[in-house]
């Protein structure tokens, strides 16, 4: 008998026994589903110590269940309403009665054809056809993203940086405001200089590029620090589940 499986089955048995013994005795949950949730949560947490049979079990279960989950979602929420129902509405009468009355939209043949082309990879004779579908996907992705990024990240971000470096508020100089704006404008400029590829980072250019690195480091440090608390709250939620919903130790 394999040692890891002995551990795994032993653990599951122990857990099951606990479940049966505590049935209605203490504040601990009597709901089998909660117990399953608790077991799986503990199995994942055990990875923090080291890899072990419980984690392996949970991980492999997670992969199988979640892969099937998204495939079912894709089938029922995309393929059925957005393809089958468009090409031949009556077929979805039982599932989507509202759509079944609509006239068919035949241009949905195009994605269907592309999908089948993509599957031609499996064909022994013409696997190269799948590359046409891929070329279509890559062409659209690049085309769409080129304009999207140009618009919101390039033009949009530059626009927000068109600010006065000397701020006058109610007729008098605002030192704080001016300082902040100077930092923003210089920060963006130096940050961009850091990314320059085709000029050696030397002299004044090198100094600016150093400042750019510092600005990036502040950005990274600040964003990191800001996220820490949000991450901890996820763990608090899990602990509240384990100690509250499952063990019944919290009011």
């Amino acid at each position: 008998m394999r040692k890891d499986l002995v551990w795994l089955f032993g653990g599951v048995l122990f857990f099951g026994l606990l479940y049966l013994l505590n049935w209605g005795v203490k504040a601990i949950s009597t709901d089998l589903l909660v117990w399953i949730g608790a077991f799986l949560s503990l199995a994942i947490l055990s990875f923090l110590y080291q890899d072990n049979p419980f984690y392996k079990f949970a991980e492999h279960l997670f992969v199988g269940v979640s892969a099937a989950y998204w495939m079912c979602m894709g089938f029922w929420n995309t393929l059925v309403p957005n393809l089958i129902a468009k090409l031949h509405p009556p077929i979805v009468k039982g599932v989507l009665p509202a759509i079944a009355e609509k006239p068919p939209e035949y241009w949905y043949i195009i994605p269907a054809a592309l999908g089948i082309m993509f599957l031609m990879r499996l064909s022994p004779k013409a696997p190269w056809i799948s590359r046409w579908a891929l070329a279509f996907i890559v062409g659209t992705t690049t085309g769409l993203n080129l304009v999207r990024y140009l618009r919101s990240d390039f033009v949009g971000q530059i626009k927000s940086t068109l600010i006065p470096v000397i701020v006058v508020e109610n007729g008098s100089l605002s030192v704080g405001g001016s300082f902040s704006n100077i930092v923003i404008v210089l920060g963006v400029l130096c940050g961009l200089i850091y990314f320059f590829f085709s000029k050696e980072h030397k002299g004044i250019f090198g100094v600016a590029s150093r400042v750019g690195i510092y600005i990036l480091m502040i950005t990274f440090g600040a964003s990191f620090g800001y996220t820490v608390m949000a991450r901890i709250s996820l763990l608090v939620g899990r602990m509240q589940f384990l100690f509250g919903d499952w063990m019944g130790l919290l009011q």
Binding site: L48, V228, S233, L235, V236, F243, L250
Partner: protein
């Protein structure tokens, strides 16, 4: 220098600490406060206190519009804020008008009504003290319309009653009829839209609560366009504290924000301590290294 394997000094041991020790500390830092229901006293920061003070200052019968602009995924963060706002408004005998710019907000209004108003303030009467206007599509366009004429969009309340048959709706004409707008959410449409399309053009005070992730994007509006803001669980906890301070009876009520904050704060402090210790040991280690180097150099 030393032919034998150098013995790890105290500082090296700490500097190269097994990360599982850190995990253990973080684990305890969360588990112990959770078990003991430990909570820190949260002091309301000015950005939170200003909302509390505003609601405090409103005379009885003032009209507060609450917009539920969030969905189930952000309920853990946003619901504590909603509950705190609702309790405060009920306690102050303000009239509460609830609406939603998000489709998902509709159910959340009903749930909040059941859980807070009906449960904790059973003497409040629907239609006199609070009303559910439900969800209407239109996003910022909706705000734009109700800025001038609210009843054009809301011909009935969410339960289907004629809008003018609801007593508290009779003297409502548009957004300007309200004394305060509270938007709870963080995404789009949300607080930002309320500020730009409602508060600014109508000159109506807008405040609200947002998720921790989206709060920084709203800071630029405070305090000129945005009266105040609760950012994430911390904001909710601060408001709950302010509420308890003002009305000690709320101490016995649920306060999920404060409950969540205790463990978070302890864990945060543990992490900060680890960073400090990490740096001290790093410098001590380096100092020692330099000394050894110097000695080594002298020997040559």
């Amino acid at each position: 220098m030393n032919p034998d394997k150098p013995k790890m000094g105290f500082f090296e041991t700490i500097a190269n600490i097994d990360r599982r020790v850190i995990f253990l500390f973080v684990g305890f830092a969360v588990i112990i406060p959770v078990l003991l229901s430990f909570s820190c006293r949260e002091e309301a920061t000015p950005i939170v206190q200003s909302i509390f003070d505003k609601i405090e200052s409103l005379p009885e019968g003032s009209k507060v519009l609450m917009s539920f602009d969030y969905g189930p995924s952000t309920v853990p963060e946003v619901q504590p804020m909603v509950d705190a706002f609702l309790r405060h408004c009920c306690e102050k005998n303000l009239k509460i008008y609830m609406m939603a710019l998000w489709g998902t907000g509709h159910n959340l209004i009903s749930e909040s009504m059941e859980d807070i108003i009906k449960e904790e303030f059973p003497h409040k009467v629907y239609g006199l003290d609070y009303v559910n206007l439900g969800f209407k599509a239109g996003q910022q366009g909706l705000i734009n319309v109700i800025l001038t004429d609210l009843k054009k969009m809301y011909t009935t309340d969410a339960l289907g009653s004629e809008i003018d048959a609801v007593p508290m709706m009779v003297d409502i004409r548009n957004l300007k009829s309200f004394d305060l707008i509270l938007s709870m959410g963080g995404g789009f449409p949300g607080i930002k839209e309320w500020v730009l399309f409602g508060g600014d053009p109508g000159n109506i005070p807008v405040a609200g609560g947002a998720t921790a992730v989206s709060a920084p994007l709203l800071y630029p509006y405070y305090p000129r366009q945005l009266l105040g803001l609760l950012g994430g669980i911390k904001g909710a906890a601060e408001y709950e504290s302010a509420l308890i301070k003002g009305y000690p009876k709320f101490k016995t009520y649920s306060h999920p924000g404060i409950d969540m904050m205790g463990p978070q704060t302890v864990a945060h402090i543990v992490i900060v301590l680890f960073i400090v210790i990490g740096n001290i040991t790093f410098f001590m280690g380096r100092k020692k290294e330099e000394e050894e180097k110097r000695e080594g150099g002298a020997l040559k």
